[in-house]
């Protein structure tokens, strides 16, 4: 038997106390581990969201909302200052409008610039279940109180100088060719769903704004209804057809490096002044993950608190034990034990308590990690959702018909990001178990520190006076 085995054996000298200590300590360690898992999961998600935020800057007219009139649109002239900035590698400019379908003729409230001429011959491929609450809710804002029997949702028409991507989706053509985004030639790209619904092929024509447009290419929307409800034309074509010469409803600047994103964002704000709302993808991601930051902080503080609580528990127990065994300490020293050996024996006892608690605590932690993480993230997501709805235009991308600034924001709308941040997985790996035992050792050693000091202070001569 040596100091370690004596320490281990001493941990079982008082079984009732051992059970009590292990019980309390295991709760502390279990909570620590659950918080550590939550913290790691949330941090991982934060980093993943930040990493995927991209290096783009979203520019939209000041105060613009998806369904409002574009009275204060940006202009290509104004935006040319942005494309001239250093580190800006490309600038995608977009003018978006709603086309009234035949079925939606009476639904005058739809469409961002609802003029009498924005009628189209197309029928939307989007089907709405008029009996579903969701369908009704989606189309009863803006004063519309009923759905006509021949109702067809409005179609989004997007004029862009970059027809290779839409709403962050890189487009691939199933037939035909891409249009030139800078030519006013009344050529259009339609989705496979739109083409199918309206029997369109490359070379087919349809009308919009009382003009005839030719299908130059058909892009795959792969069942994505939101994407499928789009018609893409060049920016000059849309500006011309909608009578909004030079107008732009949103722009997306791409910066050469994420390192330059902040400085270029500041430069864009400086150039555009109060005429535009400017946000970098990183800003948007940061706003979105703000609730997760809170979860991360809460879990970290809870983790520290639980570890400190564990250390304090061991500390108090070890002080109590050393006071109880003061005579024994004196005897050990009197018969030749060094301070180090006696302290080691008592630390071994504390480590035994902590390791037993760690085993139970790891089980508790593993069981509690996922529910705790989900609860924390769920609460934060709820808070985030309500905040963003209050904030206005960024969140209304459910139907995806209006290509507001959000849909161009660095490749992901906030709704999508929000869904992503609420999908935090608590993973318990071997490292967590390792941390559990590591924490137990730290708790035991830290908790034994004052006891060790107390042991060192016991003079062997005292044992002679305790008779």
């Amino acid at each position: 038997m040596n100091v370690f085995s004596r320490g281990i054996r001493n941990a079982f000298r008082n079984q009732v106390r051992t059970i009590a200590v292990v019980g309390i300590l295991s709760l502390s360690i279990g909570l620590s581990l659950a918080m550590l898992v939550a913290h790691k999961a949330v941090d991982q998600k934060i980093n993943s969201v930040k990493a995927s935020a991209g290096n783009t800057i979203t520019i939209s007219p000041a105060g613009f909302s998806n369904f409002s009139q574009v009275n204060n649109a940006l202009t290509t002239t104004l935006l040319s200052k942005v494309s001239g900035l250093s580190h800006v590698t490309s600038l995608t400019e977009t003018l978006t409008d709603r086309l009234k379908t035949i079925g939606s003729a009476s639904a005058s409230s739809f469409g961002a610039s609802s003029t009498s001429s924005n009628q189209t011959s197309l029928t939307s491929p989007v089907t709405i279940n008029a009996n579903s609450k969701r369908g009704l809710r989606a189309f009863t804002f803006g004063g519309l109180s009923g759905i006509p029997s021949n109702f067809s949702p409005p179609i989004t028409i997007t004029g862009t100088n970059n027809p290779y991507s839409l709403n962050s989706n890189n487009l691939s053509l199933s037939s035909g060719n891409f249009i030139n985004g800078n030519l006013d030639n009344n050529q259009a790209l339609v989705s496979t769903s739109m083409a199918s619904k309206n029997n369109l092929k490359v070379g087919s024509t349809f009308t919009a704004y009382s003009a005839t447009l030719t299908v130059a290419g058909i892009f795959s929307n792969n069942g994505n209804q939101s994407l499928g409800n789009n018609v893409i034309v060049s920016l000059p074509t849309e500006q011309s057809l909608s009578g909004q010469s030079g107008a732009v409803t949103s722009a997306l600047a791409t910066v050469d490096s994420e390192d330059n994103l902040a400085s270029v964002t500041a430069a864009v704000k400086n150039v555009l002044g109060s005429s535009a709302d400017v946000e970098s993808a990183q800003d948007i991601a940061n706003q979105t993950i703000q609730p997760l930051d809170s979860v991360s902080s809460v879990s970290m503080y809870s983790l520290i608190g639980a570890v400190v609580a564990g250390a304090v528990i061991i500390l108090m127990i070890m002080i109590m034990i050393t006071r109880e065994r003061r005579r024994e300490i004196g005897v050990l020293k009197a018969i030749g034990a060094s301070n180090l050996k006696v302290v080691t024996q008592f630390v071994s006892e504390a480590v035994t308590f902590a390791v037993m608690a760690a085993v139970v605590g790891i089980i508790i932690g593993v069981a509690a990690a996922s529910p705790i993480t989900n609860t924390l993230v769920k609460n934060s997501s709820t808070s985030s959702t309500s905040t963003n709805f209050n904030g206005g235009f960024r969140t209304n991308a459910r139907f995806g018909a209006a290509n507001g600034p959000t849909l161009l924001s660095g490749g992901r709308g906030l709704g999508k990001v929000r869904n992503e941040i609420s999908n935090v997985k608590a993973e318990v790996g071997w490292s967590i178990i390792g941390y559990g035992f590591g924490a137990a050792i730290i708790i035991a050693v830290a908790g034994s520190s004052i006891a060790a000091w107390f042991i060192a202070k016991v003079r062997p001569a005292e044992v002679m006076r305790m008779e």
């Binding site: 040596n2 005579r327 005897v331 020293k333 030749g336 060094s338 305790m466």
Partner: protein, 232 residues
């Protein structure tokens, strides 16, 4: 040889003053001598024993054991000295309650660095020697009588073959028969092991059977009765 030269131990009193628990004590004891210290309560017997056992340092003076002045040892040297040269026996036995008799005897040998095999073998021999054999060696102190516990304590004190065994009223908690037996055992060991044994006792009749008897009063050494002269 144990040589004590003008040692004093001063403690601070409750009134802010100080007092000498041991006051300018000097004596010499040869190896293998069985000696006793007698004196009334508060006379400084236990303090003197603590100083002889290197459990405490004297405020002044020197204690020399085989030419080594232990009063000048640092803490580490004191620990080593206690582990290898001193055996202690207490009135209340002071065995470790959750260790068996055998493990209690093995304990000082562990601190002295002996291997487990050596420790176990020697501990069994010592327990046999003090009359504790068989399954009693595997019993914890709570399952042994007072006399048996004191025998374990004596075996523990002998475990590292110390030069000096210091016993603080080893018969104080025992009945007269057991007390006499323990006293005889210590006497025999001092002869057979050539170990210096110094015993504190209130029992004058037992003290009278020792080779030398020192008498303390108010921290001062009065007489060495065997030699019939006042100690220097």
């Amino acid at each position: 040889m144990l040589e004590v030269n003008k040692i004093s131990k001063t403690f601070k009193g409750g009134d802010g003053g100080s007092f000498n628990a041991v006051d300018n004590v000097s004596f010499k004891v040869n190896q293998g001598v069985f000696a006793s210290i007698v004196g009334p309560s508060g006379s400084g017997k236990t303090t003197l024993l603590s100083l002889l056992g290197a459990l405490d340092r004297p405020s002044s003076g020197s204690i020399t054991v085989d030419g080594q002045d232990i009063s000048k040892f640092n803490d580490r040297e004191l620990v080593n000295y206690r582990a290898r040269n001193v055996g202690l026996i207490f009135q209340a036995y002071n065995l470790i309650p959750n260790l068996t008799a055998l493990e209690n005897v093995m304990l000082p040998m562990e601190f002295a660095g002996l291997s487990k095999l050596e420790r176990e073998q020697r501990a069994k021999e010592l327990l046999d020697q003090v009359g504790l054999s068989g399954d009693k060696q595997q019993r914890k102190p709570g399952k042994l009588s007072g006399g048996e516990q004191q025998r374990v304590a004596i075996a523990r004190a002998l475990s590292n073959k110390p030069k000096i065994i210091l016993a603080d009223e080893p018969t104080g908690n025992l009945d007269s028969v057991n007390g006499q037996n323990i006293f005889n055992l210590l006497h025999e060991l001092s002869k057979s092991q050539k170990t210096t044994v110094i015993v504190i006792t209130h029992d004058i009749s037992l003290a009278g059977k020792t080779d030398r008897r020192f008498s303390l009063r108010d921290g001062k050494l009065q007489k060495d009765r065997k030699q019939g002269q006042t100690a220097r």
